[in-house]
Symmetry: C2
Subunit: 423 residues, 2 copies
Amino acid sequence: MHLIVQKYGGTSVATAERIHAVAERIARKRREGSGIAAVVSARGGMTDELIRLAQEITDRPPRREMDMLLATGEQISVALLAMALDKLDVPAISLTGAQGGIRTDQMHTKARIRAVDTGRLVRELESGKVVIVAGFQGMNEVDDITTLGRGGSDTTAVALAAALGADICEIFTDVDGVYTADPRIVPGARLLPRISYGEMLEMASLGAGVLQPRSVEVAAQHHVRIEVRSSFNHNPGTIVEEVGTVEKDIVVVGVTHDANVVKVIVADVPDRPGLAHRIFAALADAGINVDVIVQTTKGEAVTDLIFTVSRDERDHTVEILERISGETGATRVEADESVAKVSIVGAGMVSNPGVAARMFGALSREGINIQVISTSEIKVSCLIAADAATRAVRAIHEEFELGEAGSDGAAGESPEAEPQGTV
Amino acid sequence: MHLIVQKYGGTSVATAERIHAVAERIARKRREGSGIAAVVSARGGMTDELIRLAQEITDRPPRREMDMLLATGEQISVALLAMALDKLDVPAISLTGAQGGIRTDQMHTKARIRAVDTGRLVRELESGKVVIVAGFQGMNEVDDITTLGRGGSDTTAVALAAALGADICEIFTDVDGVYTADPRIVPGARLLPRISYGEMLEMASLGAGVLQPRSVEVAAQHHVRIEVRSSFNHNPGTIVEEVGTVEKDIVVVGVTHDANVVKVIVADVPDRPGLAHRIFAALADAGINVDVIVQTTKGEAVTDLIFTVSRDERDHTVEILERISGETGATRVEADESVAKVSIVGAGMVSNPGVAARMFGALSREGINIQVISTSEIKVSCLIAADAATRAVRAIHEEFELGEAGSDGAAGESPEAEPQGTV
């Protein structure tokens, strides 16, 4: 049977009216004969409301108990969606993450999926039911509820699609797909009909909030074809998949910006082997993601270590760095929120020298100072002043002519037309 | 170790302030050395809010999905209470009904507990943690979430106390205990320091809403000592336990009234064996509780069957009776909500003739017409006009001098003083 995994985000189920619309969409596909497993997030605003309840009780809720609390958000969504399908006479059953077989590791509030036990899912699908699984949550080895971190429902959906061998994983959201830049900032931004896993991973990691980066990793690993599309219309969205040959003249697919960063400076670390490792291992153990790492030697055998973390990790990061300052010898830890990260992404970059230089040139012409640069094979990121981010993104988008269909060989085609086409 | 099971109702955890107060109470007991398992209900208003969400989606939510939805209410409560205990540095862990080992039958929205798998509960208690279990919910054989019906958290608490061999099961509520009558109606109502399981069961079934009747059944069966008391003060409450000899002059312990009743009349049923069975079996299969059954023969070999159900079962009951009217031959089904049930309860009644007559006399002197009478060994119930209920309860309370301490041999004693005392 043709099997589709669909994921609906919080805005897609925020009101009774929206839930009915989602149920109608599922019902139509089901009546066409496809098997459907739908993954649903907490209703818009619900997670924030639960966090507020916890904060009324304590500043530092234990992470295990936060997971117990937050998991109720998705549980409410799946029950309501199952009711809406029942009203349409479409047999459906809701499942918590645990019932849906989502097994995770022990890291509460940012657990990783270790396995999907598909026994019950397959049974319910074979009996003809639409299966509705609570996103964002799972169960660890000791039968405790875990959650997967912000955007975790995407990963639930991709993991289910992989485990069930689904034909496609449709991620429904409140935008039409993946754009060359944030359309709220760059009016000429263009919808990408197709993007590779690698590029999507960088885009997602660098602030294009349409997919949780971890979900793209899982998709790439298991060759799950993703379509990112809107739950508010029936337009085709962006297909994320393995992409073949990359045309050399389409080096940059998109520009991202991320305001959710803090620049952390660990000052005057003695220039001795092992100290950087000590610092980043301590942060990794706490589950803190670090990006854009640079090290500057200042002479006198001390260096400044500079890197970024997300804003909600700021306090935790500073606390850890101060705790280990006796070992690292750092004289000072600074956290600066007045920065933003702008990046260009494109798989063609590796074989096209001079791409980074064009980006720096665009920023320079705008009089924007680059504080820190970080590159990989398929991206270049610059840390700049937060208040220059919009100008920076527009200038870079223009420099690489991303708004023009001609810049992308696949533009204007149906995304179904040529799965192995260029990006 | 001395082990206490405590149950906190919805008003006891309705606000952050109340949750902190409950945590303080638990912390004090815990520091005195007792092991504690706390069962918690959904926060006041939460269940109604969830029901409202379901009603926004559909008039007839599937019962399985209602359970999925409603179970989130208690899950939120237990997580928040565990956070509050953590803040007091009291090790604690929250568990859903399923995690707490509450195994039930399949009857969604009014499931019965079949077993308590105490493995994890014992492990967590032995590790020194306060265990906080979501009341009202459990898991059935196919790992689906079930709920136990209104007041089900009481039954969760008693079942846990039985399974764990707890020394006492304390039911914390917003009243001081069990009274001779509802103090809001009878200002002279007296707190009962002690009551037998049988009497408590009748009181609870007849409208004294302090305990779910099912919880009293389970307590009687497993000899679980219950104390009903207030979470708003530290006064002793009412002990519910096996009671020995019953003094003949204390025949009536309390008067109850229940406005949540509908009088159902099934008119002109042919007077043939098996028809009454057909009717009540159909209602029992639907899980509808029937009370105060009477049958009146009208000549011509037809009878009227009269009984009561609770108001929320009204529509379901009428629907079933109309569906089987072809078999029963009934010409008419009526449902009358303008009634109330007033009852007297007392284990001494069985050996004291004339008690019912005194009740009828009190109603007669007030000019209150009795529509239907139903008696058991330890109670007499009368169906009367709803608007006469308050006058009826006051008159009966006065007739049996229930407000006077002298009417109860145990009054004024500490409830701890003489566990086998009279009632």
